[in-house]
Amino acid sequence: MKIIYSWLKDFIELQQSPEKTAEILTSVGIEVEELEFTGARFTGVGVAHIIKIDRHPNADRLSLVELETGSGKKTVVCGAKNIAVGQKIPLAQVGAKLPGGVLEKAKIRGVESEGMICAADELGIPGGKHDGILVLDSALELGTDVAKLFGEPDCVFGVKLPPNRPDLLSHFGVARELSVCLGLALKTPAAKLPPAQGACIPVFVEAPELCSRYAGRTIRNVSAAQSPDWMKRRLEMLGVKPRNILVDATNYVLYELGYPLHAFDLAKIEGGEIHIRRASDGEKFNSLSGRELTLDSQCLVIADAKKPVALAGVIGGADSGVSDATTDIFLEAAWFDPPSIHKAARRFGERTEAAQRFEGGADIEFAAYASARAAELIVSACNGAQITEPVDIYPSPRKPSAIEFTPEKINSILGTAIAPAELSTALKRLSPSLDSSGAVWKITPPSYRRDIETKWDVAEEAARICGFATIGDEPRPVTLGAAETLPVEELCEKWRDELSALGFYETLGYDFMSEKELALYGFPSETSVELANPLSADWRFLRPTLLCGLVKSLVYNENRGAQSACLYEAGKIYRSESGKVVEESAFSGLMSGNWPADIFWRAGETKKLDFYHLKGIAARLFAGLDGVRLEPLKNPPAFLHPKLSLAVLVGKRQAGYIGALHPSVAQSAGLRNNELLVFEILTEPVAKQLKSTLFSVKPVPQFPSSWRDISVVVPSQTEAGKLMRAARSSGGEFISAVEMVDLYEGKNMGEGKKSVTFRLVFMPKDRTLTDAEIDAAFKSVLAKLTTEFGAALRS
């Protein structure tokens, strides 16, 4: 909202400058977001005439300009390029007050300058640029005060108001707030009316539950005349286009007092009567904004004998408003139920100034006064205008109840030690109703402050009036318990550090996916969570996997030249399970390109990332998490390579997978490299494996281990894992590990054969094994591999 500085001065003796006022407003919760200065903010600048221009003797870019000021000649140094003999220009003489400070005598490059020819920005003219001096109208008389050309100095504040303070939506409201906070006297605008003549038109409130007060009066013999200049100027400063006095007066009162009024052209009120009623279902209404709205009984309308003439409190009708031909008006000042106004304004998309004030709760006690104020403005602008007696239907005046509190409680809420006397003075400014005579104080909030309901609200007012600076920041003792941690978060933190140290970058994706993306990854839309009001069609669903976002980040980086990338994200994934939203924490990643780097001077040592790199990463992640294991994936998800994928299991529960992304997905996603390795792990089941107990170190054997390598030739499809398990189980009581040393699938192995070499490691507790014992174990392993897998010892 815009607030004009000079307008505030109508109501309070504001001594502070606009800048200082802005600071005060911000400090009391009326946040000033911008200051727009208008008018002349300078003195001592007169119109002068350029009579001669010479080069500055010591500077190529400067000129010596001789001027006629109307009271003698002056010579000044000027750097502008657009000067010319004959121009009328603004000359600031020594002592002139400019926005940048007071102009002093100066020697510029050795030459005395007797003043300054000003550019627009040097005079502080709004939107003024510094692209040369300001050239004035040649018809101006020499010596004329330039300030007069730009009007009185003023300032328009752009303020942001909290939604619980509709009372601040006007100049009077803001001035009233300042008067309370600064302790200034408040002047109320005049509303003097000529004697009333005759009765107002009949008004029937047929839906009193939605309209607590309806006031109005008829004003006859008016004309749609121009408003006075001062009113037009203020409206224009607010960005409101002045039209005629009938419209402008209601707008002016809206911005002055914050009370929304509406003027109907009486000639267009059929039957000459007003009904405040619910609309009938399907009833049509043509709004001022040029739309036809279809109403129902939820909507409150102002109607004449036949049709709605306004959507109550929101917008007037196209056919009932005032026009240039209007001679008689009916002026409405009503109070409507805030939630119903809010609903209607939202439903029909008519977020008008009026609706904004009604939905927050305008001051019901102000209705009659606001109506009188507008009437006064109209009557004083239209000669011969006659007002009728007002109607004012206000059957059950609002009785705000008193709030009881103790000064101790106020100090406790604020953590302050405000003395009772000071507190009493402060709150009396808010409401003279304050009764601070007993131990329990009572205050009845003013009618315009419907937001003050409890002692906590009173505490805020106390802080606002006494100044928030009175609140100290001395630490007081606090109660501390053992601060809990979250296992899932602990696991994610551990993995973040682990993966970052291994070359992975953490990413953050949006939680949304399109239907097309769901299909690409093979998620049916029925089991996905859909948004009712998505930001866009591309973001209709909540992600059932983090991989889509990771792949998008990879595409983004590939398009910017990255050849390799390892990325991960910790986040939520969502699915719908029999109508319920299931939200799970996932930790996912992808690997693409080369390891450990794209290029590297030991060229042969750079490897293309493959499944076993991924498996190695998984091993790093699961290290120390007993019970988490990789097993064949029974039904690989559609986005994974059907043969290059494994399930992550915790007990019997599948907690994710690792694998190669299905090449078709990679291709459709626009990836250049379609050999992509991914993992997605549900962190909640895995986090349960984090050990919460201490462990103890086991003693190590005193003797070194012994080892023997065994190379066997087996059919190609034989799984290494099975061979290793068999070796381990048949290696006797002292075998402590079976490690894979080599895998060879060259042609000389023969068709369908491969050679595998294992190292059998033996580690008895209390001695070193003899060669004979190792021989025996070796033979036992070989026998097992031969009988189970048809292995032959490689010669």
Partner: protein, 352 residues
Amino acid sequence: MTLKEWEEKCADIKARFSDAISAVAAPGGLDALKVSFLGRAGELTLLLKSLKDFPLEERKTLGAAGNALKTELTAIFDAKAAVLGRAALEADLQKSSADLTLPPYPFPRGRVHPLTMALREMTGILSRMGFARAEGPCVETEFNNFGALNFPEDHPAREMHDTLYVKTAPGADKLLLRTHTSPVQIRYMLSHKPPLRVMAPGRCFRNDAMDASHSPVFHQIEGLYVDKNVGLSDLKATLTQFMTALFKKEAEIRFRPSFFPFVEPGVEVDVKCVFCGGVGQCSVCKSTGWIEMLGAGVVHPNVLKSVGMDPEIWSGFAFGMGIERLAMLMYGIKDIRAFYENDIRVLSQFRP
């Protein structure tokens, strides 16, 4: 050979050995010396063998002296060998021609996300201040997100939050993507007894068009302390300590009255600009000297009532802070979208 002659020969061997070994300059020369003095047919060996011709008494005396000499010469020899060996090794090392300017072998290094970095700073400080960690789901009920937090229905306050709703079956409870982390307050207070002190970082969502300062997905961190007799000054003390720790210099904060339905009094918290110290031209605080940092206040009595706590007994403060905004300040990031682009060229600039 007489005893005397034997002794003279002994002295002569010692003298010549000493001369000879001093003259050796390279390890290669040592072998010949060893052979001629200490080898099987070496002079000292032969001299010791000749002892068998002496009578037993003399043999004892001379034998001891001869063996002592052998030990002495061997020690001199070994010391010389060690010196020469080390010198030869050093000379050898000097011949190394390794090019130390070759780039190192790569050990890939990634980064945690800048928002994680900022969040770690914040949670670290709060956790040292005794705040437990809590979390809640992103898909929330309308009650937890609004109702319990004192946002009346059909009130403009709800519109401060442009909300994304989840499609639900007709008649089912309305679900939404939480618009702030404050619903975690409700969840935590329902499941824990006061006094309580908790922080809840997490993702939030708004139906906001994306631009340089708005993102439909963003992160907040929530703080909540409920105990007996907690007031605004406790909030100020906590936030002053928090900001001091965060910006690593004495922070000054100020409160401005503001409105959030779930706190009363509600305040906007500004921090004295840590970049310009509150003076001069500054693009961060736009030369106002203050940076708007977060919203906070005293927990609204209606919120306490909605979780079954008596506001006459319990009181508390709550604050909520945007993590992106803070990270933008801390790292000089101008566009909020940068956090979600995941450009490795940006991410890799952060210090691991």
